[in-house]
């Protein structure tokens, strides 16, 4: 049955499976599974899904209802595992900074939920593309979490090692590519359905390369745990700083008005 697939698809499938195996082996070999448990589970689940797909395609074929249900159900598990791995990335970057983390996770989850809600609301287009819409909503959530984490880290000048940066890029770009891929497939089904799978696999292969580099960096990288200051310092300084900023703004307004009043 698999032999009926185009040669390019088979090659890409083999490449992504080998890439996944390499990454999984690298994580286990360098004992990074303790540091990245959800990423390990996600990569493992991805490999299991490949094995399941092979089995189902051989047994039931590509057009079977059983295959359709099983593959898309397993995809739900994979997307959930990836979302958890994305949250793990977020915690790895901001988790050391307890105060900022408490703030960031709330904002990121709220933004993620909003994006999911909007996608589902705008994407209501009958049941034909319901699975696509659900996948796009999940990918939008992951992309929001990834980009939000990088923006938070940038705003607060939080330390972001090379491994975290590559990991975040992988999550974000993978999700964006999947959203684009699914959107084009849903809109231009006839012309695009032949390319959809190849584009997804090429994109995933690229992401796997990023993650292999990320894990190699994580194996050698030293991530110091910062010692936090007493909460009192922030409690005193933050309102004072804001008050002064407001005064500065008022001063600017006065300056502008004074300039305007000049003859």
């Amino acid at each position: 049955m698999l032999s009926s697939l185009p040669a390019l698809d088979l090659v890409l499938w083999a490449v992504t499976t080998l890439g996944g195996l390499l990454l999984f082996g690298l994580i286990l070999g360098t004992q990074l599974d303790r540091e990245f448990p959800f990423l390990t589970i996600y990569i493992g689940a991805n490999l299991l899904q490949t094995a399941l797909q092979l089995f189902l395609y051989q047994l039931y074929g590509f057009e079977s209802h059983v295959t359709y249900l099983a593959v898309w159900s397993s995809q739900a598990v994979i997307v959930t595992a990836r979302a958890l791995a994305a949250c793990e990335f977020c915690h790895r970057v901001l988790g050391h900074y307890r105060g900022v983390w408490a703030l960031a996770i709330r904002i990121l989850l709220a933004c993620g939920a909003l994006v999911v809600g909007l996608t589902l609301a705008f994407g209501r287009d009958g049941f034909r593309y319901a699975v696509m819409t659900l996948e796009m909503a999940s990918e939008a959530f992951i992309a929001t979490i990834a980009v939000g984490t990088v923006l938070f880290a940038r705003h607060y000048h939080a330390q972001m090692g090379q491994s975290a940066l590559l990991l975040g890029l992988g999550f974000g770009l993978n999700s964006c590519l999947k959203i684009l891929n699914d959107a084009f497939l849903s809109r231009y089904w006839r012309n695009y359905s032949g390319m959809w799978n190849e584009v997804a696999m090429v994109g995933f292969a690229g992401v796997l390369v990023l993650w292999v580099f990320a894990m190699r960096a994580a194996a050698t990288e030293y991530v110091p745990r910062p010692e936090l200051q007493p909460a009192e310092v922030y409690r005193v300084m933050a309102p004072h700083m804001n008050r002064k900023l407001a005064e500065l703004n008022d001063q600017l307004v006065r300056l502008l008005k004074a300039g305007r009043q000049k003859p």
Partner: protein, 186 residues
């Protein structure tokens, strides 16, 4: 799939990807540029020049030069003073940004952060930057009162002094922590 949703999805994906690439590139640049402790050590440096700058903008001098040296010299002096004022304004902005950076380090290393304070600071900082550009434009067209620019400098200075005092109160512990937080991959 309807056209509107398709366009929204494509725009969202492209925007997020671009934002991710730009933010990760600039965060790498920030990391390279900033050497941990430097953020805390290099507290506002330009504010000490405020006195001489203010004196240099005194209108009486201009009148004196015009009466003694002629209109050409007075014109040249006005132009040069204008440039000095613009440079001073830029340095004030640099000092202000430095103070904001210190405030962010304080927030980063605090076990509790208030979302309202953080949002307020972000909003005020954006507002400040916008208004600052307007003032700069006004000065660029020679239409801003220098004493008020000096008053602005005084306010940044007050803020700097308070921040510096608070940073000293943090002591070595915070300095070490900030160093750990900001000194990546050295």
């Amino acid at each position: 799939m309807n056209v509107a949703f398709f366009i929204l999805a494509v725009v969202f994906a492209l925007a997020v990807a671009a934002l991710l690439l730009v933010a990760s590139r600039s965060s790498r640049r920030v990391r390279r540029r900033r050497d941990g402790l430097a953020v805390l050590d290099s507290a506002p440096q330009h504010l000490c020049n405020m006195g001489p700058i203010r004196r240099s903008q005194d209108g009486v001098d201009l009148e004196y030069v015009a009466s003694r040296g002629g209109r050409e010299l007075a014109k040249r002096l006005r132009r040069e003073r204008h440039e000095v004022a613009l440079l001073y304004l830029d340095s004030l902005r640099a000092d202000f940004e430095q103070l904001l950076r210190i405030a962010r380090v304080v927030a980063l290393l605090s076990p509790e952060v208030s979302s309202s304070h953080e949002y307020e600071r972000l909003r005020l900082a954006l507002q400040f930057r916008f208004r600052f550009q307007l003032v700069k434009l006004r000065l660029l067209f020679g239409d801003a009162a220098m004493p008020q620019v000096a008053a602005l400098g005084e306010m940044v200075s007050t803020l700097a002094i308070r921040m510096e005092t608070a940073m000293q109160a943090l002591g070595e512990r915070a300095t070490l922590a900030a160093n750990l937080a900001l000194n990546s991959e050295r």
